[in-house]
Amino acid sequence: MFKIALDKIDELFAALSGNETLYLPIEKSGEIEFYPYEKDAKVRLDALHTVKSAKDLFFPQTENLMNMKLDGKNIQIEEGRHVEDPFVLFGVRACDARSFDVLDKVFLADPVDSYYAARREHGVIVSMACSRPEETCFCNVFGIDATMPEGDVVVWLDTDHLYWEAKTEKGEALTKTVESVLTDSDSKAVEAQIAATKEIMDKLPLKDLDLTRFTEDEMMNIFNDSRWAEMSEHCLGCGTCTFVCPTCQCYDIRDYDTGHGVVRYRCWDSCMYRDFTRMAHGNPRKSQLERFRQRFMHKLVYFPENNDGMFSCVGCGRCLSKCPIHTNIAKVIKTMGVKEHE
């Protein structure tokens, strides 16, 4: 294990961003997102969450697939792909780190999504352990350890130091590039912090959410449960929950008329939008109830059924704090986790 004093942390960021782009939580116009590091950036490692999750780096909200340019009677087609740049993603929390496993199941399954795969290959993940979870956190429910996140390198922060430990080959290679600014350290401080954080985790109000009902056997009972009606009744049909979610992975492919050509791009879609999965025959989910239900059935029943029991929620709590009317997955788990009329 290595360490660096926090007052010298800019040396670490300078070293990490020397050869490749370094993304980390940076505050701009009052909000924190993963932005490229630059000198004098307002780095906010103290923040529990960025507004959007880190999935943007592998599966961007919009990405150009191809450009079509009109040249007289000819159409020139250029590939818009821009996925080969190596980068370091620093400061990913345990919940977001697990979300990459969820996304891998979708995008790395046959047929492999070559855009996503290339970014996964070229990205190194430095995850950051939590020490101050919030009331909206429930990653433990999905078997995630907030004190020991997945990632190529894991870092822990206390008041004076950042502790660094490589976990994979990629992580070892990255460590070599920054070794000059790190010093050796024992793991005492980290162990003490892990123990203290675990005590806090034990007090989280949502730590006991019960997922046992969300199985294939109960699928149709949950699907037909009449309580979806009242739960979805006041859903605004906005896309906030889906766009701040680290695991939502639905997308649309659209053409943008530039006036002198067409840009074909892929963008995040939201099952909360009423044209979600609309096709030539119309829309299979006409009501907000059906679309609302789809989101939670997907995360809690369909996805685990197709992916060896892995839920596609990581308990980050973003939808809990961002939904304009506070309808969220924790409420759904509590309601649907208990059979109707019980």
């Binding site: 116009s29 909000e31 101050r132 009331e135 109000p205 963008c267």
Partner: protein, 329 residues
Amino acid sequence: MREINEMLKKKVSELLENGTADRIIGWQAGEFCYDVTPAVMRKDNLDELFYNGFCGANQSKYLIQESLEEGKVLALLKPCDTYSFNQLVKEHRVNREKVYALGIPCSGMLDVDKIKALGITGILSIEDNGEEIKVATMYGDKTCKRTEVLQERCKVCKGKEHKAYDELLIPDEDAPEVPNGEDRFELVNKLEAMTSQERFDFWRGELSKCIRCNACRNVCPACSCRTCVFDNDNSGVAAKSNADDFEENMFHIIRAFHVAGRCTDCGECSRVCPQHIPLHLLNRKFIKDIDEFYGEFQAGEDDTAKGPLTAYTEGDCEPSIVMEKGGEA
């Protein structure tokens, strides 16, 4: 607040019992003390109804759908909600006859994000004592001043008078004093005083955060089109995301133009924005301009008057006024 809560429960139960309305749009408690959800309730689940400092959501827009349904719905309107309600009635989007409006008092609504921004996290419970907010957290007990954590719109409160109601829970003159009003055009003035480059940088900084979740549009009582132009594939501008930074800007600017003269400044757009973009400032700029060009006008003040942008008078300013605005070249 507890007193008002009890009075409200009693009154609502009476109105449902005597058949004045058959259901109510109220508020339901959530997982925490602040995550209140709007909910339709009937006699059998009325015990879930409650009202506290986190019931800020303007429920007027729900009345568009509710007033299409069978029976009469009981709406709980805070003074500022009545402006949106009037506007929706004026635009024939809410059927007034299907709504029984109960005016409820408000002493200013709280913004949990502002509490969190003070570093108060891990919130377990919140006690609202009028002047001081006591917050029990996983990291110990904290306090903050109520005025520090009020919603933005409450800092420029329109007053305690209800502009529309069938009945008031308590007479307006007996209602609690509203928070001291700050100048609602203060920030607009500041933006106007900037150079065009500074102003551009400010808005690029804010609007580049937009994730195009459409929460601002979907919550906005003035955005009541059945199908928004941005959802209509045949419009040529339909989009689910911002394909480029031009679109980031234009979505919000077009929306602000569309609601100009009808926006009551209810502040819901800024309340729901996951990125805290101060969208209300776009609307306030229009409101300020309308005030200056056509004389002071407050949308939703009543449910009949034509707004300055939909009425013609001889004294109206010339369209060429735009040539004189917009700062230096």
